[in-house]
Symmetry: C2
Subunit: 598 residues, 2 copies
Amino acid sequence: MPDYKAPLRDMRFLIDEVFDFHASYAALGASDATPDMVNAILEEGAKFCEQVLAPLNRSGDEEECQFNNGEVSTPKGFKEAFAQYAEGGWMSLAADPNYGGQGLPHSLGLLISEMVGASNTSWGMYPGLTQGAMSAIHAHGTEEQKQAYLTRMTAGRWTGTMCLTEAHCGTDLGIIKTRAVPQADGSYAVSGSKIFISAGEHDMSENIVHLVLAKLPDAPAGTKGISLFIVPKFLPDAQGEAGARNAVSCGSIEHKMGIKASATCVINFDNAKGFLIGEANKGLNCMFTMMNHARLGTGMQGLCLGETSFQGAIKYANERLQMRALTGPKAPDKAADPIIVHPDVRRMLLTMKAFNEGNRALAYFTAQLLDVAHSSDSDAQRQEAENLLAFLTPICKAFMTETGLEVTNHGMQVFGGHGFIREWGMEQLVRDCRIAPIYEGTNGIQALDLLGRKVLGSQGKLLRGFTKIVHRFCEAQAQHPQLSGYVAQLATLNKEWGELTQKVGMAAIKNPDEVGAAALDYLMYSGYIILGYFWLRMAVVAQGRLSAGGGEAAYYRAKLATCEFYFKRLLPRTAAHQAAVEAGSDCLMQLPAEQFAL
Amino acid sequence: MPDYKAPLRDMRFLIDEVFDFHASYAALGASDATPDMVNAILEEGAKFCEQVLAPLNRSGDEEECQFNNGEVSTPKGFKEAFAQYAEGGWMSLAADPNYGGQGLPHSLGLLISEMVGASNTSWGMYPGLTQGAMSAIHAHGTEEQKQAYLTRMTAGRWTGTMCLTEAHCGTDLGIIKTRAVPQADGSYAVSGSKIFISAGEHDMSENIVHLVLAKLPDAPAGTKGISLFIVPKFLPDAQGEAGARNAVSCGSIEHKMGIKASATCVINFDNAKGFLIGEANKGLNCMFTMMNHARLGTGMQGLCLGETSFQGAIKYANERLQMRALTGPKAPDKAADPIIVHPDVRRMLLTMKAFNEGNRALAYFTAQLLDVAHSSDSDAQRQEAENLLAFLTPICKAFMTETGLEVTNHGMQVFGGHGFIREWGMEQLVRDCRIAPIYEGTNGIQALDLLGRKVLGSQGKLLRGFTKIVHRFCEAQAQHPQLSGYVAQLATLNKEWGELTQKVGMAAIKNPDEVGAAALDYLMYSGYIILGYFWLRMAVVAQGRLSAGGGEAAYYRAKLATCEFYFKRLLPRTAAHQAAVEAGSDCLMQLPAEQFAL
């Protein structure tokens, strides 16, 4: 397993130099988040992730979670690491001070979660799911529920889950079968079986707070009849502590391709006592609070695993000696040259670097929007941030996981045969990453959400909210002495993006299948343009520093070289996606289902 | 694990209707390979693969090979299946009758190996490696060596290996350290340690014949000083049977991401008795006999695993109910529609289908060339076939494995969360496939071989040998009533292919790094055009059958629909690869190695 080192320099480049988090923290009144404090937090977080979590990553994969008679034991060291995490105040970092949190900006929480996911994705699932559940309780729970559950989750004593999927439905939550029957005491008796419940059962916390989608007896059919319930594993006793065992049990855990140290559970509710959260039949709305959090988090996994894979690959490429450079020996004193001299190895490494750093910029930009949406005093600012978040969330989830999977596969390929051997840890990153394009709504579903609900559903308004930003940037930088060529390339694509959208929109009026036919390629097309924008923003900053003649010239030159690589070798992929979008739905729909296989 | 059914209809479409194997068998004097005989062999092969090998695929993955004190046990049933395979005459099918073979065409052997690899890739490694070793002994061994080894391997009593890689070198065989010291009796004492030796040790055969690359004491440095040796695990006794144990031992086996039932061994030679095969210092040439065989076989793995994945995905997509079609319910009597109604699911299924069937056409075309190269009486025909094989082999290896990996990943994605669960078997196909772009020369090495050695090394001659075929086909079909649009699209690309090659060739004269910078994208670009050609050849046949009004209209219409999908949604990917090729090497080479990570 590659030794993970948190990329603090790169994180600071974005928060200090590109997006100026400090200015936005000040504007949002986050007075505790001073530059010194942010720095100290990042450095402490890095230490914890590098020294505590990273060493448990490979052993966790080998040990996997173990199921024994309803109980799940996590791999050695997981429980202790979680205690240390809670004690260090990492769970409470961005949580509400009214319930024990530190009230630091959400963006800072996301930066920490990047380091957690990069050092140990499986482990990160436990706090990650908990934070998703916390956000739903915070947004939709009663004051009493918040006091009862949120405080203990913020303290890292109780953890949370999202119980959505059932054996017969994942995407299609309208057809869930889990039922909740009102009881005389105001609680509900919840019965049903949920599958694929991450962190559904484990030995890391005193209690597990399940957030469960279920239907009331009189609920309307479909998604408009779903309600959300809090169903704790142990019912709060008189002191509010974990008391009597509820009728919730873990039936089994799944044996998976990856994230093997994350317990993926069948959770059975057998007239379990549950408490309605939010309004009856409005459960899907409540759940979206969790899901948006989870979708951004899942997108981050693509970045996290890509970063760790890059760190492994770059080290190996500098050490592994094999063949001579085509232009003549570069290490004549050695038996062969390090493989980083070979253009094709560099192609893989630069692809990894360009996606990782581009995805990081996209994620941090989104994180900054989270802060605004959460804390701005201005309704208009909040709404604008919400709109951009609605547009960017499916792209973060799908584009960052598709490219993350490509990156981890390149990292493995750089290792040649050794990449396939478990001992080196590179193949685990591919396996761990492979779930990310699937869960929290498959990437196909994200694409439908983007094109159907967000872009076309807003008559293009949500798209224009972003293309306007790109347009203004391109106008401002059109005469940039070194980068104007790329600015022009981006401006052209930005314009074509709108035109392509209109074309799909027109076609969709006549035939709704056009949306589904175009969606995934449209999302990828959009993602490449968005990353082009962020690469150019980074390049403008880097060029500015170089022109100003300050220090760290090598660092800024690397940014410019990677930007050039992105524009020349990755951004042209838009052409293939555009052609696929323009191909329309006929070539997908004409073949009768029974004639696919003959 | 999906139930594998050999795609006999599709195999017959290619051998009977598109490529007319029977005519070429007759022309080559393969009088035993009558249409009836070929049919019977395919049906028997299908039965064996479906009934014996496929059921051992998932259990093999779960059990893995076990190493115990130098011995390797294969998973339950593997040994018995191998005995049955040998007894059924499958190992001897295409082998030389002078050494116990049946002398049937090589192409027929490849068709059988497709079914073997699709039903159980790990198991297929054992006979696959043996066949590679057999071809090297057949081409380079003395008559005595052939009698001693080939006859027993043909009978399936002894198996073979290729011992190339060492810990410090895989691609760079010029720096191997294994030594062979001449002995008084004409044999050699071989010492060294080889890694990644597939089928290096196991319990399936009476003896294991290692073909080992090693250096003589006075050998020139680099690849011109490598010799090939036969080093059997047990030395032949007076009767030629497995006698005294040679000083060959298995040090350990690797724990891998996939093909877990294939034993990947460290093999130690400690003054083991070896016998020179072929000329001294010409070992690399001999090895290429094995490698070309192995490269085509590895390419086939992409097709094999893609086919099995498709069979699983299509079944699931027809059975799994989730959401309603965007155009309104298609199965109103059910809780939801089968997911095959959704355009994005169809996008994945058709991508799988288009790559599988296109790759199969490429593979069978290549197989037919193998027959000609092997058996034609005409020097000119043989030479032409050899040239086409030299050109197509790296493309088969790399393009078919890259696309095979994409296909297996789509298959997994179609299953949603269930795709990630081991029980369903879809993720195993991804893991088993992931080695194929790596071993037998990474795809980066294949790309260098294609662009550097084959295309530019022949001043474009080997490329023109293929583009001429495409050109003639396009000319002949230019006025095709239904397909002329695609013919024109292909003709344009075929022309651009030559122009792009010239551009790279010119750039490479000034800077050899241009070859490495362009290679992988050039190979993929070429592969897409080649598959376009084969798709159109299939479409012309299918359209002909439809126009003639015979039976099986649905089958032929599916071919046309898939061809349309390929031309509209996959072939445009050439644009992205072309742009990457044209980007040149500067954006890859400018960043100093030490500045990739800061």
